[in-house]
Every structure is written in structure tokens, then in C-alpha cells.
């Protein structure tokens, strides 16, 4: 039986998360439920998409990911279930799922079209029973109406040329580390045979480490992290606070001639 993961902006001081779990358990008490996070900033689709994109492939194929972030979305947003990269996703068609993968989806249905219900709590009333049924082996095509496309937002793109890679901070994590959208692959190709300068917040650096602890205490480290992107931090410190950088701050790698 598959696992169901939960990713919401519900917080942990209300009954919302427990209500979603209770509904899943009511459909099938054998389903394992694992939280990804319930501390997504309310309606923050970018944050949710970053977290989901960073971890869903670590779960076994067939895992069902229930996403309740800005689930009321905008007027007219459908509720959908997607099969993508051999994983299942259940949530609102508000653009979030368009940010988590470049691959074409394998299957897509619109939910709640037959005997449709009106609810202020779709996570419990629509997503949870659907997620539970998917995790129990029900075929996705039996759970909704076929749909062709779901909403895709345009993520801020890194701009990579022979002269420089211009990226941005896409996530400030719990430690204050700054995670960018600069991929190691692009860097490896473009930096061949060249020296480089990494620039952000008025600072310039000429070295990239392989471990967080290769900087001195209180000094910057720059690594390509476990997601394969450039990450900046301050060893035993909070880079976001100390450098004054935040979501969307610019980070450039300039290649010397």
C-alpha cells in the first residue's frame, strides 16, 4: 500500500491537519501518512513548490502527495489529481504543481465533477478521500474526469551564458542558508578552463567548498548542495540575517576571460 504525504499551510495549532489524517484513516486504516510540512506560509505557492520539488522523488514510486496550500486558490480553480514522474499528486489547480517538474504528466483528472460538493475545506472533503483511494490502489482514471493540461506558472529562470550565470535566491531555509536556482551542471560546463567570481549582497568570492564546515566560523561558505544547486551560508551563523539577503535576491557567477 502506498504512503500518503501531506504538505499544507494549515499550521499546527488547529484541527485541520488531524481532520485530513482522520479522513484518510477512515477510508483505509492501513495507510501510512507522513508529514512533509504544515508550516508553509499561508498561500505561499513558491515555498510549497520548492519544498515538494526538493523531496518528492526521495519517496518510493507510487507515493501519493496531498497538497493543501492556497487550496481555495482563485475562483474557478479545479481540484485535480496528477500522475507525474510515477508519483501521484492531489490538490488545487492553482499553479503549484506546474513548478515541481519539467516532465510531461502521465495522467491527469479533474476531481469533484460528479455529485460535486461545495466545501470550505477541500483538503479533508475532496483531497483526503481521493488520496486514500489512490494509495489503496484505485486507478487514477476512475477518480475523476479526464483533463488535458494543468496550470503552469513560470518560475524565475536562471540566465546562463558564457560570461555569467545570473540566478536568484529561491529559498531561505531554517538555518538562514540561501538556496539559489543555479545548477551545478550549468556551472561545471560554463566554468571549464575559466576562473570565476561569485557575487551577492556586495560580496565577492572566488572559491566553492564541498562541505559546510570548510569555512571559518562566522565566514561564508558556498557549496553545491544535495539538491545540486548553489547554496550560501555562514558557518555557525545565519546568512540571511547577516548578509541581508532574502527570497529573490540576486546571486551571480561571473566568468573571467
Amino acid at each position: 500500500m502506498a504512503i500518503v504525504t501531506l504538505l499544507t499551510d494549515s499550521g499546527e495549532s488547529d484541527h485541520y491537519v488531524a481532520a485530513i489524517k482522520a479522513k484518510i484513516i477512515s477510508v483505509n486504516p492501513g495507510i501510512r501518512i507522513e508529514d512533509i510540512s504544515h508550516r508553509i506560509q499561508p498561500t505561499d505557492i513558491a515555498h510549497a513548490a520548492f519544498v515538494l520539488k526538493s523531496v518528492f522523488r526521495d519517496f518510493p514510486k507510487g507515493t501519493v502527495h496531498l497538497v493543501g496550500v492556497d487550496a481555495s486558490g482563485n475562483r474557478g480553480d479545479s481540484y485535480i489529481a496528477i500522475q507525474l514522474e510515477d508519483h501521484f499528486f492531489v490538490g488545487a489547480d492553482n499553479g503549484l504543481f506546474g513548478l515541481i517538474s519539467e516532465r510531461p504528466h502521465q495522467n491527469l483528472v479533474e476531481l469533484n465533477t460528479i455529485n460535486s460538493i461545495t466545501t470550505t475545506f477541500p483538503e479533508r472533503d475532496v483531497f483526503a478521500p481521493i488520496a486514500a483511494k489512490l494509495a489503496s490502489g484505485v486507478s487514477l482514471t476512475d477518480l475523476g474526469k479526464p483533463m488535458q493540461v494543468f496550470k503552469k506558472m513560470i518560475d524565475r529562470q536562471v540566465k546562463a551564458t558564457k560570461k555569467q550565470i545570473a540566478g536568484t535566491v529561491v529559498r531561505v531555509d531554517n538555518f538562514g542558508n540561501l538556496i539559489t536556482n543555479i545548477p551545478k551542471e550549468a556551472f561545471d560546463i560554463l566554468s571549464k578552463g575559466k576562473t570565476y567570481t561569485i557575487q551577492f549582497g556586495g560580496e565577492k568570492f572566488r572559491r566553492i567548498q564541498t562541505q559546510y564546515n570548510q569555512a571559518e566560523q562566522g565566514e561564508c561558505f558556498i557549496v553545491f548542495n544535495s539538491l545540486g544547486v548553489l547554496e550560501i551560508g555562514i558557518y555557525k551563523g545565519n546568512a540571511s540575517e547577516l548578509l541581508g539577503l532574502e527570497y529573490d535576491s540576486m546571486v551571480n557567477i561571473v566568468f573571467d576571460e
Copy 2:
């Protein structure tokens, strides 16, 4: 085997929650444990009762709900286990359980009366083993001394007449939405054939929506929510902050002649 849910004011930075779980697992490693919340404000019985009341019926009948909120209660408070609406509750007799249901209890025992222990951590030392035994199928009457009544506090009552429904805010949730104690049932009956004005915080509204997203961004929505009570929010905003309303603020529905 039944599930045990946990609802406490322990927070998540200490060992308290893990100690409760470890004790349950030690009694019976097959028991499934699901958190409701550990972020109840210390000793805040009203908050805890609201959360528990809002979700316990979503779990399967026979679920055991361990509640550790103000568990030291007041001098002389007993520890009790209750069967109520086909669910089990284990905790301190401090008035919290009197706020979660209007129904008479089915069974009630006082705990820790034989070979009684003195402890500063009753959640782990008394409630956890009892909850684990209940979840394993032990009869409630075998776990304590029969008791007739448990403490019932008087919740602030909504006052409903033909002229108006006078209610209050009973919960400000993670999103800043204001959840009142005004039931849809009362509204449906009293509003028949009349127009109405909803008043709170100096504002007046004449419409109730069915979905959060039927208001414009930055504007109020008013819905009867998934709990069947009136809820006020600001679409993509924080109503509590923006309207200056909080727990116990007044919300009235005035019916026009």
C-alpha cells in the same frame, strides 16, 4: 486495534511528546499514534476544547484521545477516562472534556486510585498507559473506579432570538480567520423570509458566501464553514490582524423587520 491521538500544550522543543509516545509504544508497539496538536497555549483549555471538539468525530469510533492540557489542573482534580459518543478520552478532570459535547457520557472512571502514584508528568505516567490499554481492547471499567460526573464548564453561549443572533469569536486560526459560535442551523431558521446585517468590528455586511474565494482579494468573506458555524476572513489576508478582532470579540447577525 484503535488509534491513540495526542493533544497537548507541551510544545515541540522538549522531550515531553516523545516520552508520551514511547510509553504507549512500550505498552503495545502495534498502536498507531496520531498527533492532533502540541501547540495549544499552555493551560489554554478553551483552545484545546475547540480543537478537540472540531475533529474527534472525524476519527473512527473507538479512537482514544489523550489530552494533556493543564494536566496538573487545579489541586484536587482527578485523572479520568471517559467513553463519550463512542470515543474514549483520557486526561485531567479540569473542565476541558465538558466543553466538547452536549451528549451524556456512556462511561466514566477515575484513574490512579489504586496504588496511586504521585507524578509531575501524568501524561506519561498515568494517561499514556491507560490510553494504550484502552486502544488494546481493555475495558474502560477495568481501568479505574466508577465515577458519576466530570466537570463541565459553561461555554459562552450564542444568544439567538427572532431579532438577532449574538455570538462571539471562539477561535482565531492559523490564517487569522475568525471562527464564531453562530450555528448555520440557527441562522437558517431565524433568517427565513428576512434580510439581515452581519456586524462586527464596526463593519456591516449583507451577504454570506459559500466559498473563501468569492470575495475580492483584500476583502472580507463570510461563510458557514466545515464546522457549520459562521467564519469571517479576509481573502488572501489575515482578518484578525486587519480587523482588530480576537478571541471573544462580538459578532452579531441582526434581522431586519
Copy 3:
């Protein structure tokens, strides 16, 4: 099959915790995972050690405790797995494990020595697969290279003489209660036949209660808690805030002649 517990400084707003769980589940989907806490202050070894020391023995023997706190530690810190008091511990050799027990370890290996990997996320890439294998019954000696000793830090010691016990606050918990390092055993021996004064923050007290609720509201209670150490709080209040005491504040028990 054993349980794996998780104790980290990852916070709950990122993908880190879910990535660790996903990796464990990928190795063996039958393993039960229970969180101890993910809200350890980043790199705060003392806090983590206190929480771990306070709860690990409550879990069944054979439980595997994965600890990801300051996991990058200092340059040159190994990754290790320890068998201690019939429990298993997996984490960085940064001194944390030296604070949780006085007993000699039963077994100790260094991890990641064969086909070693370089990673910025050892919790997922090294600790999680090892923890999963230990929990699945693989012998600890098959998982790494034998090692003789692991790092032990010196915890601040309580100083106990016939005239006084000089201790400190080792933890301010979620409620603002001040947990000290003064053991009940030492107090019972040294206080025989004597009166005593408990001194902290300019205050003096001559009584120790057995329950939190034996003080008046707003007044101090002093108990020997479920960990067997002296704990100070304010009934229905926050002692740390009200008394201005914090981690490392001094607490003395002076015995009268």
C-alpha cells in the same frame, strides 16, 4: 522491527525532515519512525543532548536514535554509530553523544569509511540508511569500521557538599519552567536532619512541593520532577520570563547548620 527516532535542528518548514524519513522508508518501508523533536536550536548540542538524555530510555531497547544536530560539526568530525545502554545512536561525533549517559558504550563504529561519500546532507545520505539497516536487524559491526572512543564534552557539573548544592539551569522548557541539574538523590542524602534554603534569582524558598499545583497561582513551585531533578516554575505562569532566569543561571540549596 525496531523503531527509528529522529532528533534534529532542521525545523519544520523545509524538506529536510521528510527527506530523512523518505530515505529510511526506501530502505525498509516497514520501519516505524517517531519524531523526538526538529526544533532544536541550530547547532545547539546542549539542548539536543538534554532532550535525548531525558527520553531515550523510555523507548524499547533496540530503538535506533538518529541525531542530526550540528551534523556538519567541525572539520574532521566522523560520522558514527554507537550501541549504548542497549539503544543505538547514529550521528556526528561532535560531542553530543558524550552528554547523554555515564555508562561505557557497548559498541562503536565509524561510518562512511568505505566508498565514502561527500555530502552536505549527511542526515539523509549517511545516517538514514544506517539507521534503517540497524532497525532492520543488521549488526552494527557490519556497518562501519571499529572505533575505540567517541568525543565526550564536559557537562557543567553540580557541586554537592555538606554545606550546599550548587547547580545551574540546564533547560528552559516550553512552559518557561527551569530544569536544573540538581539530583533528588544528592538532595535526599545531604538534607537528612537539616533544614535548607533554595536560592535563585534573588529569591529564597524553604519548601519543596510534590506537584505543580501545590503553589498558589502566580507563585513559585519547586519540585523534583519526572527526571529526578529540581525544577522551578510559576503556577500558571512563565518562570523564566517572570524571574529573569535562563540557561546556566545559578540555583543553590544551602543547608543550615
